[in-house]
């Protein structure tokens, strides 16, 4: 095996370990749900066992040691020699976490044991007790090396080996010839077969091997080396090994040949066919017995069935460097842009509808969008591993705060872009910690409130209208609005005179500066507030919203785009510029009549819509393309819905189109601009900015007139 091979397998080991650790968690969850579930514990056992095996091959001793003890405990539990109590499940979960840590360390080249292993091992020992020795013999890892040499350097000596095979040797698939060939590793081999006991064909008992062999071996090896050759067959043959003395027993032996290869050419049944004979006998026996179908025919029928079904399942995978996929995604993005450009050029040529050019173009469009979807699907991954990490966060947070938490996940197999998942880990971790620390009441308080002592936190993921929605539902006390309001006043975020709707108070949690190191407990502290969570999510093109029912609990929902590469957008004209508004934020478009609009103050306008007054913002004026137009009748209004606050209406000159646009990051190519999420390249090659609907609303919310409008609408 080459070094590159080994490195490759090593990295695949860690990938597999992740999957196995995931299976471990799943299995432990299933065990917690139903302690009687035998398959669940088998799954965990197998996963831990496989981790041990793989780690052993690469000499990851800390992993092997711990996995071995973990496995022993599982084996004891599996055999029913110890009870599966809640405490035990809890211990097993900790062991699973610890194993994950060890694997992580090993991946980073750190093979040392960690302190937590020792403690857990001691607790595991309480389960296994002294059974350890009986159940699983000590596991001695042998790492991959090529220096093994079965021969030691002792002077050569001659051995006489006699072997007499029992039928079991052949029915077990062993082959004397192979053993003799293997013996040649030790030195010079001379084999003689004794045919004395072979009966005439008429009364030959084909099940018994009448041939015995005598081997003369000249070797530097020891008797133990010879025994090792015959290790597999030691209990199904009569074997004598002796240092050769001078008496030559050859007289008693018919000389068949000194070379084994000659054996095959003789009339005497060649050695390989002996096993064939045994098999045939077995079949004949089966036929003679009164149930012929059970013995011989069944396997055949089964074989035919399995043959038919085997074609169906061949889901193999290959490992691909992420960079390559990203390059592919970029290229597909370019393809989509070029396709749009081509489409526009052909339009300008004024080709007749239904001509072959436009038909081909249509199918090109179709294929381009299918390629795009297929490529995106490559990057999509289930959120499950991330959810499992959160399960661990919950456990750790719960034990740090002394709270009892039942953690439920829904929609584990919802697929989301890999990068989105990766970048979501930190904000979600923070939210989960917060949920345990601040969201749930202490067990005694819960009891006093007549609730079960265990509080439930539900983490769910689902696809909803082209986005993925991740929700953290905390069935706790809900947000204490008086407390939040007072705290916000203390921190100078709001003034006493401010009247805030309940929803607005809840949203104070996301204000920068709301939480501070001093106030937040040790656990969720780290000086990071929910404002950081929100900005991290916004960077992913996502939104986070909060909904709370006092006494019942709170729900944090994060809505994210499925991919970071394309976006369904509405292409609009504003003051001579072309811009893109993400379609996900547009609730409605309308051409306003004079009756729909009211003027408020000097230059503020509000729109009457569905019984609400909605602030009107001119997109051109916001970006400084123009001053706000005095009359809006010949303009178009886009009603923007946002998770974070009230709706508002954006004034644009005209809507051009609604289409998928390829997102080109402005931050990597230029810098971040408030109100702009990213840019795209249009069909005519021009660049259009993609607006960030949430930021626009927030920017206006903090300025004078916008603030007033906002509150009116809220």
């Amino acid at each position: 095996m080459s070094g590159a091979d080994k490195e490759d397998i090593r990295s695949s080991l860690f990938e597999e370990c992740e999957e196995l650790l995931e299976a471990t968690q799943d299995g432990l969850n299933a065990m917690a749900d139903d302690p009687e579930d035998a398959e669940a514990i088998n799954i965990v056992f197998r996963a831990v066992h496989s981790i041990k095996g793989g780690a052993g091959a690469f000499g990851l001793e800390a992993v092997v040691d711990f996995a071995h003890k973990f496995e022993s405990a599982l084996d004891t539990l599996r055999s029913g020699q110890a009870d599966l109590t809640d405490d035990v499940i809890d211990l097993l979960r900790h062991c699973g976490d610890n194993l994950a840590d060890l694997v992580d360390n090993a991946r980073n080249g750190d093979n040392a044991s960690i302190a937590s292993s020792k403690q857990l091992e001691e607790r595991l020992l309480e389960i296994t007790g002294d059974l350890e020795q009986d159940d699983l013999p000590e596991f001695n890892p042998i790492t991959i090396s090529l220096d093994a040499d079965p021969l030691s350097d002792v002077g050569p000596s001659r051995y006489t080996i006699e072997i007499e095979a029992k039928p079991a040797l052949f029915s077990g698939g062993n082959e004397p010839a192979a053993l003799f060939m293997a013996l040649r590793r030790l030195g010079d081999v001379e084999v003689r077969a004794s045919l004395d006991a072979v009966r005439p064909l008429s009364d030959l008992d084909v099940r018994a091997c009448a041939i015995t062999w005598q081997i003369t071996l000249t070797t530097a090896g020891s008797e133990a080396d010879i025994k090792e050759v015959f290790e597999f067959v030691e209990d199904c043959c009569e074997l004598t090994i002796a240092l050769e003395d001078t008496d030559d027993p050859a007289e008693q032996i018919a000389k068949v040949g000194s070379d084994l290869s000659a054996l095959g050419d003789r009339d005497v049944p060649a050695i390989p066919s002996l096993s064939d004979l045994v098999q045939d006998v077995d079949e004949e026996k089966a036929k003679k017995e009164e149930k012929p179908s059970a013995g011989a025919a069944m396997p055949k029928a089964q074989a035919a069935r399995t043959d038919a079904s085997s074609k169906a399942k061949s889901s193999s995978t290959i490992r691909v460097d992420l960079d390559r996929i990203d390059k592919l995604i970029n290229l597909v993005g370019e393809l989509v842009i070029k396709e749009a450009m081509l489409s526009q050029s052909i339009d300008e040529l004024d080709v007749a509808r239904g001509s072959s050019v436009s038909a081909s173009l249509d199918s090109l469009k179709q294929i381009a969008s299918e390629i795009q979807e297929a490529v995106m699907a490559i990057r999509a991954q289930p959120v499950k591993p991330m959810f499992q990490r959160m399960a661990r966060i919950v456990r750790e947070a719960a034990s740090a705060t002394g709270k009892r938490v039942r953690f439920v996940t829904i929609g584990d197999y919802t697929e989301v872009d890999k990068t989105v998942i990766e970048r979501l880990v930190d904000p979600l971790t923070h939210m989960i910690r917060n949920a345990v620390d601040h969201g749930l009441e202490r067990p005694e308080d819960r009891k006093a409130a007549g609730k079960p002592q265990e509080g439930t936190i539900t983490l769910s993921a689902a696809h909803r209208s082209g986005r993925v929605v991740i929700e953290v539902v905390v069935a706790g006390g809900g947000i204490n609005r008086d407390f939040v309001r007072n705290l916000a006043m203390e921190r100078g975020l709001i003034s006493e005179a401010d009247t805030l709707a309940p929803n607005e108070i809840d949203n104070l949690l996301f204000m920068p500066g709301f939480s501070s190191k001093a106030e937040v407990s040790e656990l969720s502290g780290r000086g990071v507030g929910l404002d950081v969570v929100r900005s991290a999510i916004q960077k992913l093109g996502g939104r986070v919203a909060i909904h709370s029912d006092p006494g019942e609990g709170a729900t944090f929902s994060i809505s994210l785009p499925l991919t970071l590469a394309v976006l369904e957008g509405m292409v609009v004209d504003v003051g001579g510029e072309t811009m893109v508004v993400p379609i996900s934020s547009v609730q409605e478009t309308l051409s306003p009549t004079r009756n729909d609009l009211d003027t408020l103050g000097v230059d503020s306008v509000v729109l009457r819509n569905r019984g609400e007054l909605v602030p009107v913002i001119d997109l051109g004026a916001y970006f400084g393309f123009r001053t706000a137009p005095s009359t809006l009748e010949d303009h178009v209004l886009l009603l923007i819905a946002s998770d974070q606050g009230p709706r508002y209406a954006l004034v644009v000159d005209a809507i051009q189109d609604q289409r998928q646009v390829v997102i080109k990051s402005l931050e990597t190519n230029y810098q971040q601009i408030s109100g702009v999420a990213a840019a795209t390249i249009l069909g005519d090659g021009r660049i259009a900015l993609i607006i960030d609907a949430d930021t626009i609303m927030r920017d206006l919310g903090s300025s004078g007139p916008g603030d007033k409008q906002m509150k009116m609408a809220g």
Binding site: R46, H49, G53, S171, R185, E231, D235, Q279, P299, A303
Partner: protein, 123 residues
């Protein structure tokens, strides 16, 4: 012609290791993921040697051997079991199930080839 080996293991790492060790050694390697899969491959490819793990989902190694031994074949195919245990207990069990030999995990290249050598004649 090179010998055809069917390697059955539910661990991808192990499968990769087996393949990476056996291919350069001149064997024709076929891979299966568990006992059920192994039986399918066994029927399809008619291997010269089988190497199988014990602990596997769906159908474990012993189950595989038992089923494989009932297959109609004009020869008894050598089957080696991969085991993390090395006690006499395991050997007796392997024997009883109809295995030809065993390889104690973790194996190195030498150990693996040596076990194969003792049950099958090359080429």
């Amino acid at each position: 012609m090179s010998l055809k080996i069917l390697a059955i293991d539910d661990s991808r790492t192990m499968r990769n290791l087996l393949r990476a060790t056996l291919c350069p050694a001149g064997f024709d390697v076929d891979i299966a993921e568990d006992g059920e899969d192994g039986l399918k491959r066994f029927d399809e490819t008619d291997p010269d040697i089988v190497i199988t793990d014990i602990n596997m989902p769906r159908l474990d190694g012993f189950g595989f051997i038992e089923a494989a031994r009932q297959r109609k074949r004009n020869r008894v195919v050598p089957i080696l079991v991969l085991s993390t245990e090395s006690g006499d207990d395991m050997k007796a069990r392997a024997r009883a199930s109809g295995a030809s030999g065993w390889i104690v995990k973790p194996f190195d290249e030498e150990k693996l080839l040596w076990a194969i050598e003792r049950v099958a004649q090359k080429g």
